[in-house]
């Protein structure tokens, strides 16, 4: 009997611990379940902040899943607006959703964007036996008959993976986006299996999602959407080198509440820059297929504004928002 109750109490204590945060330590909110990109950002940056002695206590990671980051976003704007000990993981998905007004009317200027310190390059891949040899072949095929190619990606329609091929097409002068076929799978790996299986003609995703399949030879990458070839994958040509002026990187970074002082904001920017410059972070990036992509502080804010404006325009053109 006593034994039983202890069990129950023990279990609930573990649960309670994982759900609450201590008042004195820095808290990093990952707006998704454990796993995933945001959780990774919090855990890795949080670990380095402590290892590099930039904070005195280990960073507490809280997972706050829901509405693709929307639940965390509204929580921070309405309840934690002046919390200077709070950082939140963000990525391209955050800005895409903000641009599409998917956070219940919240806008990007309701938080402060600290910086991005690494990016997962966008890629477009096809099965090994695909007739398409270059990105140009694929674009020409779509121009000739938009329904002849279906893209598979790891995000829902209108999400970041969907926007990547559309940006490429836009740079080639094709704008009938509603005709371009896309199916949203549950994650990049599922999108790859559909493409290898021949159900879709191309897959759009992040470098980290396809690296294993590239090495095993099951898929070929037509293009990586960065300015320079990615270290370790130099044989994959950039879209730019094939005449498409597109750069799409799924950046990893942080935002903080709007209501903190400029000094507090600058302190976070400095700390993040220190992490970005550290040898440890470079190792983390290399191990996880991230490419260098550092924009911290005021630069980042301006860049975010531009990205959101562009995404809003594109989303209107494909009809995800009015």
């Amino acid at each position: 009997m006593k034994f039983t109750l202890l069990k129950a109490l023990g279990t609930s204590a573990v649960l309670a611990l994982s759900a609450t945060s201590s008042a004195w330590a820095t808290e990093c909110i990952a707006p998704a379940d454990a796993g995933g990109g945001w959780d990774f950002t919090c855990r890795q940056i949080g670990k380095l902040l402590y290892d590099l002695k930039l904070v005195d206590q280990p960073v507490q990671v809280t997972n706050m899943a829901g509405a693709g980051g929307g639940v965390a976003y509204t929580h921070i704007v309405s309840d934690r607006n002046e919390d200077a000990d709070l950082i939140v993981a963000a990525s391209s998905a955050t800005t895409t959703r903000l641009a599409q007004n998917a956070y219940a009317g919240m806008a990007a200027d309701q938080v402060r964007w600290v910086g991005a310190i690494g990016g997962d390059p966008g890629v477009i891949v096809v099965a090994k036996d695909s007739p398409f040899q270059t990105l140009g072949d694929l674009v020409e095929a779509i121009k000739a008959d938009p329904t002849s190619v279906t893209f598979a990606g790891g995000s829902a329609a209108g999400g970041f993976d969907h926007l990547k091929p559309l940006m490429v097409l836009k740079s080639a002068g094709f704008t009938d986006f509603a005709q371009v076929k896309y199916i949203g799978m549950d994650g990049g790996a599922e999108a790859i299996t559909q493409t290898i299986g021949g159900f879709t003609q191309a897959m759009t995703g992040d470098m980290s999602e396809i690296s294993g399949f590239i090495k095993s030879g099951d898929v070929r990458a037509l293009a990586v959407l960065t300015a320079e070839p990615v270290p370790g994958f130099e044989e994959i040509p950039t879209a730019k080198s094939q005449g498409f002026d597109v750069e799409v990187v799924n950046w990893r970074g942080l935002y903080v509440p709007r209501g903190i002082s400029d000094d507090q904001f600058n302190a976070w920017a400095e700390k993040l820059q220190t992490v970005a410059d550290s040898a440890e972070w470079k190792q983390v990036m290399a191990d996880n297929g991230l490419a260098p992509f550092t924009k911290v502080g005021a630069d980042f804010q301006g860049w975010i504004d531009q990205v959101i404006a562009d995404t809003t325009t594109l989303s209107k053109e494909i009809g995800v928002i009015q």
């Binding site: 009997m1 034994f3 039983t4 109750l5 069990k7 129950a8 279990t11 609930s12 573990v14 649960l15 309670a16 994982s18 759900a19 379940d33 454990a34 796993g35 995933g36 959780d39 855990r43 990671v61 809280t62 706050m64 899943a65 829901g66 509405a67 693709g68 639940v71 509204t74 599409q100 998917a102 956070y103 219940a104 329904t147 279906t150 829902a156 329609a157 209108g158 999400g159 969907h162 076929k181 199916i183 949203g184 799978m185 994650g187 790996a189 599922e190 299996t193 559909q194 299986g197 159900f199 879709t200 980290s208 690296s211 294993g212 399949f213 090495k215 095993s216 191990d287 996880n288 995800v320």
Partner: protein
Amino acid sequence: MDTLANLAMGFGVALTPYTLFLAFCGCFLGTIIGALPGLGPSNGVAILIPLAFALGLDATQALVLLTSVYYGTMYGGRISSILLNIPGDEPAMMTTLDGFPMARQGRAGDALVISGVASFTGSFLSTVGLVVIAPILASIAYLFGPAEYFALYLLAFATLGGMTSNNQAKSAFAACLGLGLAMIGLDNSTGLPRYTGGNLHLMDGIDFLVAIVGLFAIAEIFIFIESHGRNSAIGVTLGKLTIPWGDLKATFGTMMRSTGLGFVAGVLPGAGASLGSFMAYMAEKSYVGAKGNFGKGDPRGVAAPEAGNNAAAGGAMVPMLTLGVPGSGTTAVMLALLMTLNITPGPLLFKEQPEIVWGLIASLFIANIVLLIMNVPMVKLFVKILMVPAWVLMPMVTMVSFVGIFSLTGSYFDMLLMIAFGVLGYILRKLDVPTVPVILGILLGGQMEDALRRAMVISNGDWTFLFSTPIAVGLWAFAVLGFLAPMFLRKMLKRPPVPDSANED
């Protein structure tokens, strides 16, 4: 021979005293987490991830701990299904159908032993399957496109009609209710929210764990309060625990068939353990036919879903390790753990990091043996947790339900939603409408819709695409057969008794 050498190396990695200790802790914790309603395998594993980091475990040790928890929950889920009529986790849902009636008949101990052995058979054989045919099986995933998935889910729903013996219209109603609830949330094919009423918490749809805990656990509490415990499952007692050799022998064939089915369901990405246990139960029911006593405490109705869901758990490892595609919610969490440990599952994992893969496989075997020992001879220990007097157990079930769901999402809204499901479950039970199809509707309905929509996008809206491959046509044939067969069989089976009774008159 290569395989055996690799496996030996795997045991070399996994068989250190510390990892064995971790396996033991993991199995124990997993069984408890599985048995407590509201805490299922995916949040059990998710909760323990920070612990694995805090303990500074290396990759193999972390994997051993978490796979033991995973397999443990798959075993543990059956305990509360049988004793409380509340599934400990979603794959154990089908076990309530015959497990609880057995407990009512005073055969709770038998049901626990049979299901424990079935769980062992399912997961042990599927681990063997993982070792022998993982690389070959991986290519099955390439054969299943949207049309094939749609036909597969359709097959699951087509057999639903025969699930409850008393009233098929009520099961159909319950399934439609579930399908309707599955519509809520972000529509994958257009990126637009549906039926959310602008509420952010509904954007991701309804979490089926919230629905399960509400429909089963909270509804059970309402029933208990209303009847002062008389009509409630809470408080069923467990007699002496003996090993029912006869039943085990009789259910051997069932376990084998269900293991096969469950393993295949697990290997298919996205189908997972719940579909595995459902298919195993329904297949066994139609295999046995009218001779069976399904739904009223047939031992085969306990053995089939348990072998099926544990086999699916093993099967789900195949696409996770070879393709990086999680076959179930829990393997999705484990995939995340692997990535954090800088191990990228995919086509090259077996070649590049054999010690991780074979260490993991060895630890699965170890976990299974430990779990068999814990769950058959020592099952009383876990049963004790659920066997406390109702006035203690009921608040405990309530508390764990709330804490469990809160740990999942950290959302106040989900607690309200869970209570709403509790009220719904209470009303449905009063109307004698089964709740299992509601869950299946929520669980599989969304995926079925996605598959159909994807098929239509790919084929430019041509419906003949749904019948364009042999696999799809085969699944459709089974679906039609599964839907029609019960109607004709019932007629044929009902006919003979009529002359008999006429003669007696």
